[in-house]
Structures are given as structure tokens and as C-alpha cells.
């Protein structure tokens, strides 16, 4: 009997894949790792890339793209906790600043009526996009 293990690929938003597999290849931060049944307990951070799940002896494979995450291996169960988006430290930081900015602006217009607030939030979004583009341009010029 061929040895298999169970694979679950889940993200915070939904379950992406679930099934048995003969082998799994994942893009760990320090290079690709291949997991076979009875692998010892293992945890790795994943970078954006492709997960290959071999589901049969004949070499049939599922390809699933993930934008980073975490791989957890137990001898007969493998779980991939996938991120839903590409996560980079500076990108997260930019989002955080934006959220702060939104709050400040919202409070600055304490007496603003509803439509005004809406317009304001749209303006902030546009400004944020502009900032992003400028940042990208700066990076490419360097």
C-alpha cells in the first residue's frame, strides 16, 4: 500500500484545499522543501510561491499559489496556513499609517455631515494611492 498523508490548505478567509497526498512541495523561506509521509514534526515560514501536491502514484499534481504563510508538518497531517495577500513588512507599515491617517482626518472634521465624511474617505484613499505610486517610482529610480 502506498503511503499517503492528509493535506489541509487553509487561509483566514476560507479552506483552499483538503485531501490526501503522496508528496507535497512548498516554498519555504530558505528554499523549497519536499514533504513525504512520516516526516518528523516541522514548522516553516513560507514565502510567496507555488505549492505542489502530488495526489497519486502516476504523478498527478495540484498546483496552488499562495502568497506566503506557514507550513506545519506532522507525520500524517500537513497543514498550510496560507496568507491571503502578499505580506511585506513595509507594506504592512504603509497600511498602518493609512489607518492612522483616516482616524485623524475623521476626527478633524468632527462636525462634518455624512456625505462630507464619505468624500473625505475617498480623498484619503486617493491620496494613499498617490503616495504608494510615488514610493514605487522612487524605488525603481534607485
Amino acid at each position: 500500500m502506498a503511503m499517503t498523508f492528509h493535506v489541509d490548505i487553509v487561509s483566514a478567509e476560507e479552506s483552499i484545499y483538503s485531501g490526501t497526498a503522496h508528496m507535497l512541495v512548498a516554498p519555504a523561506e530558505q528554499g523549497e522543501v519536499g514533504i513525504l509521509p512520516r516526516h518528523s514534526q516541522f514548522v516553516a515560514l513560507l514565502k510567496p510561491g507555488e505549492i505542489r501536491v502530488r495526489v497519486s502514484d502516476s504523478g498527478e499534481e495540484h498546483h496552488i499559489f499562495i502568497s506566503g504563510g506557514l507550513l506545519e508538518v506532522q507525520p500524517h497531517v500537513v497543514t498550510v496556513l496560507a496568507d491571503t495577500a502578499v505580506r511585506a513588512k513595509d507594506l504592512d507599515e504603509a497600511e498602518a499609517l493609512e489607518a492612522k491617517q483616516r482616524a485623524e482626518d475623521a476626527l478633524a472634521n468632527r462636525r462634518a455631515d455624512f456625505d462630507y465624511a464619505k468624500a473625505q474617505s475617498e480623498l484619503i484613499e486617493a491620496a494613499a494611492r498617490l503616495r504608494m505610486i510615488q514610493k514605487l517610482r522612487k524605488n525603481t529610480n534607485q
Binding site: 489541509d8 483566514a12 478567509e13 514534526q41 516541522f42 515560514l45 506557514l70 496556513l81 498602518a96 492612522k100
Partner: protein, 286 residues
Amino acid sequence: MAGAKEIRGQIKSIKNTQKITKAMEMVAASKMRKAQDRMLATRPYADKIRQVMGHVAMAHAEYRHPYLEEREVKRVGIIVVSTDRGLCGGLNINLFKKTVQTMTEWRNQGAEIELCLIGNKALGFFRRLGGEVVANVGNLGDRPRLNDLIGTVKVMLNHYDEGRIDRLILMENEFVNTMSQQPKVTTLLPIVPTGEQALKHHWDYIYEPDTVPVLDTLLTRYIESVIYQAVVENVACEMAARMVAMKSATDNAGDLIHELQLVYNKARQAAITQEISEIVGGAAAV
């Protein structure tokens, strides 16, 4: 006659309102089902993370992550999850009442408060009430994405890392069933180890790259997923509350129409009677 005509106009306008509330009820009902499915779909991720966290924490009892450590509370961060739109009964107001109550409790203990608001309704409320708002996000729609929340959550996590806040609290609506939603207070940080984490057998993992970054990532993802779950659950609550509110509005409109119909019939009959008696009176005079 004028009376009857006016009443007819009134009935018509109420009927139109009834059509709208009826439509909103049905839309909310179908959206609620989808929101509930989405709510269930978020569970495996958080459960899995909790499991892995349990194993890692058991194997590395000596490493104390700041997220796991209780410290003296001088400042409290509160995340409030509200809806973007109204017409959903007392859902938001109940939550805000509970939030204000929680805030008062902490203030009495001498702690300062900072707020992180998710959803437009919370922003509107605290803009009127006042309060230190450090981050906010709104217009998430019916299918909130984790992406939209990352920045907002990051602000609070950063503040916790920097020691600006010593405790992070989440105010959310709990979906009990279609008829009832309960405001709930959850402490996000520090993470208190619960009894269920005492596993029967545990093991240590091989880590790549190392224990610390893995644990950091795990904890951050865990907090994010809990907040995301709350947001998704809130959408289900919103739809359920709106469905119930719109159903009672439709019923009330029905009652109103029924009463007005009776008044209208009486007015019409009175007018006819009067006309006949006028004709009879006129014929007798001839």
C-alpha cells in the same frame, strides 16, 4: 370626499414603503446565509493556529513572548467592530452601550483608553461622543477581506509592542442565532493560556528559520484572524438584525394599512350615504 382621497394617498405611500422593507428583508435573508457560510469557513484557520501555538508554547516554556505576558494596565486599546450601514435594529447601539460601559470600568481603574474603530457606524458614534481614536477602517462591504484590516490591526499591535497599550480588547457582536445577537467583550492581548491548551502529548518541531520568528508570525496571524472572524461574524449579525428589523417594519406597515383601510371604507360609505340622501331629498322637492 376629500377625506377619503387623502386616506387613499396615505395608504398608497405606506404600501410603497412596505414594498421597500419587504425587499430589504429578502435581500438581508439571502445575504445572511452567505455570511454565515463565510463565518464557518474562517474557523479551521484559527483552530489550527491555536493548536500549533499550543504545541510551540508547551515545547518552549522558557521563551516568553510579550503577547503572552500580563503587565500592569495603564492604557487600554479597544477595537470596536460595527456595521457600515444602519437599518439593522439595535445591533450597533447595544454594542456601543456595552463599549461605553467597558470604557467607564477601565477609566475607574485609572486606565486611559484608545480606540480602534472598524465600520462607519462606530466612527459616527465616537465622533459625536468623543474619544481618542487611533485607527479606523470602514466601507468593508458584505465580503470583508483580511487585506483591508491588516493596517488597522497593525496600528494596535505596534502600540502594544511599544508599550503604549498594555491590554487589547475586542468589542464584537456574537451571532447566537437569527433572532438574537449579543455584544461580547474579548481580551485579545495578552493571550491567556486556557485549559484546553494543556495537551495530552506534545512534541517539539524542527523550525525553519528559527523558533522566535515562527512564533512571532503565528501570534500576529492569530490576532489578525480573530479580528477578521469578528468582522465576518458581524456581517452575519448585521444581516440577521436587518432581516428581523425589516420584517417587523413590513408587519407594522401591514397593520397600518389595515387600519387605514377601515377608516377609508367608513369615509367612502359616509360620502355615498350623503350623496343618496341629497338625491332623495332633491327628488322629493321636485
